[in-house]
Each structure stands twice: as structure tokens, then as C-alpha cells.
């Protein structure tokens, strides 16, 4: 165990643990937000693990999650549009807090990596993570107009 893995353990136990609870209970608007936040919390955790295990190749995992996590949320935003339009989620405070956590982790990992090719990859992951998280939240709270089908 080192500092990085301790931070990853905390992020998993507190953050992802809370999203598992959130996705299993409560109204639909809370569940979709919890699903979105689970990917945006697991992605920084994977970055921390990559640094903690001293394996730069593990960054590919975070890259893939930053890409596909928001895609998964878009699936729900698109196909549950009728249920969500009646009761849209409004949790921008939480979304921004998680995005800030992701940004902090990316900056910390970038500083540890130093200027190199790995830095470029980390910055791409960070941009995709934060952009994807915010866009997915936007899609959930009224990103689709909700035509009859389509």
C-alpha cells in the first residue's frame, strides 16, 4: 500500500459504495445520476491504481472508461427519455463536485508523470472524463426532447 492506493481505496469505498447504494434504491432520477457518477468516480480510481501499482499501461483502462462510461449513460438518457422527462434529475452540485475530484486526480497523476508522452494520454483521459461526465448529466436532465420514438 502506498499513498496512491490508499486514495483509490477511499474513493472506491466512499464514492463508488455510495453510488451502488444510490443506484439500487430510490426514484429513477436518482438511479440514473448514481449510474453516471459511478463511472466518473471509478475512472479517477483506475488512474490512481495505475500510478499506485507503477504500471503506466493500466492508464488504458481509465481511457476506455472515460470514453464508454458516458456512452452508457447516454443509452439510458435516450431510452428512458419518457420517464426522465416527467421527473428530471437536478443534481448539478454533486456532478460538479465529482468532476472537480476527477480534475484533481488527473492533475495529481500528471504532476507525478512529469512531461512525457504519458502526460498527453493522461490529459486526454482528463478531458474525456470531465467533458463526458458533464455532457452525460446534461443529457439526463433534458438532453433529448422525447419524441414518441426514434
Amino acid at each position: 500500500m502506498n499513498g496512491w492506493t490508499v486514495a483509490a481505496t477511499a474513493a472506491l469505498a466512499v464514492g463508488v459504495g455510495a453510488t451502488v447504494w444510490g443506484v439500487a434504491t430510490g426514484p429513477l432520477r436518482r438511479r440514473v445520476v448514481a449510474q453516471n457518477l459511478s463511472t466518473s468516480l471509478a475512472c479517477p480510481a483506475l488512474l490512481l491504481l495505475s500510478e499506485g501499482y507503477d504500471r503506466p499501461s493500466y492508464v488504458d483502462l481509465a481511457l476506455l472508461l472515460a470514453l464508454l462510461g458516458p456512452v452508457g449513460t447516454l443509452v439510458f438518457a435516450r431510452l428512458l427519455v419518457e420517464d426522465l422527462a416527467a421527473d428530471p434529475p437536478r443534481t448539478w452540485g454533486l456532478t460538479y463536485a465529482v468532476a472537480a475530484f476527477g480534475a484533481a486526480v488527473v492533475i495529481a497523476v500528471c504532476v507525478a508523470a512529469g512531461p512525457s508522452r504519458a502526460l498527453v494520454k493522461l490529459l486526454v483521459v482528463g478531458a474525456l472524463l470531465i467533458g463526458g461526465n458533464l455532457t452525460a448529466s446534461r443529457a439526463l436532465s433534458g438532453g433529448f426532447a422525447g419524441s414518441r420514438r426514434g
Binding site: 501499482y53 504500471r55 503506466p56 499501461s57
Partner: protein, 115 residues
């Protein structure tokens, strides 16, 4: 304490079986089957783990510098994750056919229909 991973795998498998048997919706049953599948991955990878080791991927690691975990079980689980998803697709296609033919996806109603 060292049997916790195996117990978790057994728990996930049993809970998936329980869901399959008590499900009132065939789509939900397919989801429970996916839970059962994931139990096998947990068990396989737990068998292959070695304390303090890292992945046997040598693109960023000097061979022999650190102990590595068992790659055989990883290869087994890796292919099965993707193939399992396509099998899930076949099952969902079957559910769609059932829903078209009988207008319901509740297994109990289906057995009543048969008489």
C-alpha cells in the same frame, strides 16, 4: 479471511440463481444469468492471484523484475466476457420472440398458457 474471494464468488452465483428462479420477467431473468456469469470470472481470477504480484504484461515492465499472476485463468475469463455478452444477446432475442408470440414475458403466465 483468505477464503473471502471464493465466498464472494459463491455468493454472487447463488444470488443470481435465486433471481433466476424467482424472476417474474424474462428480461430480468437474463440479467440474473449475467450476474451468475460474473461469479465465474471472480472465481477464476481469485484462483490465479498471487500476493504482491503484478500483471504478466511486459510492455512497461522488465521480465523477471516483479512476480506476476497466473495468465492462463485471465485468458479464459477474457474471452468468455465478450462471448458471454453475445450469448446474452441470443437469450434476449429468444425473449423478444416469446413476447411476440404470447404477448407476455412472465414465465408463470407462459406456463399457464401452455395449460
Amino acid at each position: 479471511m483468505s477464503v473471502l474471494p471464493y465466498l464472494v464468488a459463491a455468493w454472487v452465483f447463488l444470488v443470481g440463481c435465486y433471481g433466476l428462479a424467482t424472476s417474474r420477467n424474462l428480461i430480468h431473468a437474463v440479467g440474473c444469468l449475467a450476474v451468475c456469469q460474473s461469479a465465474t470470472y471472480v472465481l477464476l481470477l481469485a484462483v490465479g492471484y498471487r500476493d504482491g504480484a503484478t500483471a504478466p504484461v511486459f510492455s512497461d515492465l522488465k521480465p523477471g523484475s516483479r512476480p506476476v499472476v497466473d495468465p492462463v485463468v485471465q485468458a479464459l475469463a477474457l474471452t468468455d466476457v465478450v462471448v458471454g455478452a453475445t450469448v446474452t444477446a441470443v437469450l434476449l432475442a429468444l425473449v423478444l420472440q416469446i413476447s411476440k408470440l404470447h404477448g407476455t414475458v412472465d414465465p408463470d403466465e407462459l406456463s399457464e398458457l401452455r395449460g
